[in-house]
């Protein structure tokens, strides 16, 4: 059984079709990359899968269960976590507080939750900043906090929405390492990314969308030489014969 | 039957005046995305300014517009510039700052009680009121003259304001800023100055409303309170930011108030107004003509 199955998913907002008949699957333990030009519908797809709004058509199955109408908080408790493209830390609270909120997804006791939160921070080499106010962190640290929070909910499937945006090359490499480490510990990862180097290095498979439709799917190598993909990113003239 | 028509007409006339009193609120909201809780107090200030202008100069009430409009515009402009702007700057990210609500409520407290301190609690009406008790006869019906003129002023003002925002350069700059302040500032528009002007215009419109009220409504320090709540109700009914909506919302309230007491006690009419307000808030918060925001 695949951990995530998306079948013929359509998302329409009024007259605009943001996602059109999207099919994709993710195997347990895989890293699936989702790329496409800006406005292709990637974040919208994430939002549907994460329960922010139900899809107009189609089915989403998480661990075999139909989750079309489920809410983000219920999905989180079932093991589906996500980060946001525009990071949303609880700015007035400390890093530890932020992660503890996530940890409460698996426990009711504060001492437990804090312990789990600390453990997560240690995994991400973030413990030294635990008392800092999250609103005062650098962008790289905020992205790490975003992941830490989601991680504290003990997810089986983690949706990462452009976590590398705004990071310097060194930070990008560090983030790639972190994400690979997460996969090694058993978490399935579904990642949207624009930084090609990162997503090529990370993904087992890649899905490419343009204008809401899937235009290619395959290994990083296959995608890099796929004519449709090249055309989508660089324009019609660049498709090789 | 005759009473019904008379009530209906009065309801429409008074309602349009209500709409005029609420128009400043909707302008300020439309541009600054702020609900000004000091709205009623601004109306009160307008009434006192009008009162003193008329009493000291002996002008005909409606001519006092010449004094009231610029004074109120300046007052609003300064209020926004000195007190509210710092909060805007501090809360730039937040789209609808709650702190501003709190601050405007503070302004309400201050204005109302300063008026109490300086002018005393007594109810005032202008002496030598050329419009006192004047009525028009329409067949067997009596229509209050000042209310009729108020209606005219309300419609004319609504038209003028609408025209200003749609067709003048400044008006369009203001609308641009309200839609997207960053984009507007990239186009060379100083957003804070726009806010000041918009607040000034909203306050000036409240001044016009005050003038229409002066001939038949008492002036006292807390006169604004009733119009404050009513203003919110009207503006939500008609749609925050919509000029025409303010007039329509006002007329709805005016009609309920004038026709209602024929069929039920005045209390229940008031309760109905509140009930309608809550209904609109729950069902269609953007009101009849408001923009469909993510409210």
């Amino acid at each position: 059984m695949k951990i995530l199955e998306v079948e013929k998913m359509v998302m329409r907002f009024g007259g605009l079709t943001a996602v059109d008949t999207l099919n994709l699957n993710i195997d347990q333990g895989e890293i699936l990359g989702l790329i496409g030009p800006n406005g292709a519908g990637k974040s919208t797809a994430f939002n549907c899968i994460a329960g922010v709004h139900p899809p107009t058509e189609g089915t989403i199955k998480f661990n075999g269960e139909n989750t079309n109408q489920q809410k983000p908080w219920d999905l989180c408790k079932k093991g589906l976590a996500r980060t946001f493209q525009i990071v949303k830390p609880f700015a007035s609270k400390s890093v530890l507080y932020n992660v503890t909120v996530g940890a409460f997804a698996t426990t009711d006791k504060r001492a437990d939750a804090e312990d789990k939160a600390l453990a997560v921070l240690q995994t991400l080499n973030f413990e030294d900043k635990k008392e800092l106010k999250s609103g005062s962190l650098t962008i790289a640290d905020r992205k790490r906090l975003e992941i830490a929070r989601a991680l504290a909910t003990e997810p089986k499937l983690l949706l990462l929405d452009e976590v590398m945006a705004g990071l310097r090359p060194g930070e990008v490499d560090e983030m790639v390492g972190i994400i690979q480490g997460l996969r090694d510990s058993g978490i399935t990862i579904f990642v949207i990314e624009h930084i090609m180097r990162a997503i090529m290095a990370l993904s087992d498979r890649i899905v490419v969308i343009q204008f809401g439709k899937k235009i290619a799917e395959g290994t990083p190598g296959e995608i890099a030489s796929n004519e449709n993909v090249i055309k989508a990113y660089l324009g019609e003239e660049y498709g090789t014969a | 039957m005759l009473y019904f028509i008379e009530d209906t007409i009065n309801g429409i006339l008074m309602g349009s005046i209500y709409g005029l009193t609420a128009m400043g609120l909707t302008i300020i909201f439309g541009v600054l995305k702020v609900i000004n809780f000091a709205h009623g107090s601004l109306l009160m200030v307008g009434m006192y300014v009008a009162y003193w202008a008329i009493t000291l100069s002996g002008l005909h009430p409606y001519l006092a517009l010449v004094v009231v409009i610029p004074v109120m515009f300046l007052f609003g402009y300064l209020l926004q510039d000195i007190i509210i702007k710092p909060i805007f700057k501090a809360e730039k990210e937040v789209r609808e700052p709650i702190t501003v609500i709190i601050v405007t409520t503070g302004i309400w407290y201050i204005l109302d009680n300063l008026a109490l301190l300086f002018f005393g609690p007594q109810y005032r009406t202008i002496e030598n009121n050329p419009l006192r008790g004047k009525m028009f006869e329409l067949g067997d019906m009596l229509i209050s003259a000042p209310k009729f003129w108020g209606f005219v002023i309300a419609i004319v003002t609504a038209g003028a304001v609408y025209y200003f925002f749609q067709y003048t350069r400044l008006g369009r700059a203001i609308r641009a800023t309200s839609l997207d302040r960053d984009a507007a500032s990239l186009a060379g528009i100083n957003q804070y100055k726009i806010y000041n002007i918009a607040f000034g215009i909203g306050t000036a419109v409240s001044g016009i409303a005050a003038i229409t009220l002066i001939p038949f409504y008492n002036t006292f320090p807390t006169v604004g309170v009733a119009f404050d709540i009513k203003g919110f109700i009207i503006v939500v009914l008609g749609g925050l930011g919509s000029i025409g909506g303010a007039i329509v919302g006002g007329i709805i309230v005016g009609l309920i108030e004038s026709v209602g007491p024929q069929y039920m006690t005045a209390t229940w009419t008031e309760a109905i107004v509140y009930g309608l307000f809550l209904l609109v808030l729950f069902v269609k918060p953007s009101g009849l003509f408001g923009e469909k925001n993510d409210w």
């Binding site: 946001f84 609880f90 909120v101 939750a113 312990d115 | 501090a90 601050v103 201050i110 009680n113």
Partner: protein
Amino acid sequence: MTGNESLAPSDNPSGGSAGHSSVSGSNTGHQGVSPRKKIEVFSLLGVVLIAFGLPLIMTSPTYLHIVILIFFYAYLTTSWNMVGGFAGVLPLGHAVFVGIGAYTSTILSLQYGISPWLGMIVGGVIAMGTGVLIGLPTFKMRGAYFALATIAFAEGVRVMVENLNFLGPFNLNGPRGLQIPPVNFGFANFMFQGKEPYYYIILIMLIGVILLTWFISRSKLGYYLNAGGEEPEAAMALGVNVARAKLIAMAMSSFLTALAGTFYAQFSLFIHPKSIISLDLSFEIAFIALIGGRGSIAGPLLGALLLRPVSDFSRIYFGDVFPGLHLVIFGVVLILVMIYQPRGIQEPLTRVYNRLINRLTKEGQAKEAS
């Protein structure tokens, strides 16, 4: 929820950092009590002792009356804080719950001879139900709309109570309000001759509500409320049912606020809509909490302790010559605080307090070292 091996809690980070733990700090794996904590606990106990001992020193009933009202407001603002502070919304109609509590217990005792204590609970339950009903549709609204809705609701109720003499079998007496005859003294009847019993009752209620707030802030509900209030989308993605958390907070807040309504009725022996379901009261509660610092535990309390005396004294001494001056001062303070200290005056005060404690702790540590 399957744990992932590498994320299993590692050996407990031992040793709470003495002298480093902040006021709200975690004390995981803590050995022994830090000197700082000792000072804090002792000073708190000291304050509580003084509060309990006050009536023995302050015998003037006028002053006692003032202090009772200060505690009353502190109770109200702390209860309000559960929704207005922790849940991150701005309720401006909370007086309606005070009214529900007051009217419920008063009617039950006047018409049916039921003990006000029981009436208090009934009032609380009714208020709680009302609060949840209001909250259900309104919590979805944006900030200002929510505020307006609470105002509209409170005013709607006030208008109705003011104009109804009877609500079914219950005598509301419209705008004239209800008077409670000072007879049948005794605890069971919540009726006392001196002010002292009332003082202790409100003091205990206040301490109770502060403790409750403190517990909540350190609990899952507290974390969830804070998260939902600050970034609802992120909170929802982390497993927080924001709407439900807010409703729970509202239920508690409205219940507790109603209890104070009964207290007020029994204390002042007269309630009428204009005083007890008034917008003035609603606003005063909200603004004292805001000036003090909403979202914090000490904020509403500090706000009441500082602002009520100012308000009372300016009314007593200036009321004739300068009517309404206290409200002007109030408004000015409100604006200044919002511009310069939007988190309330508790923020700078807490900083001073922390510095004081640190200095004391260092001295203590230096003494031990030498």
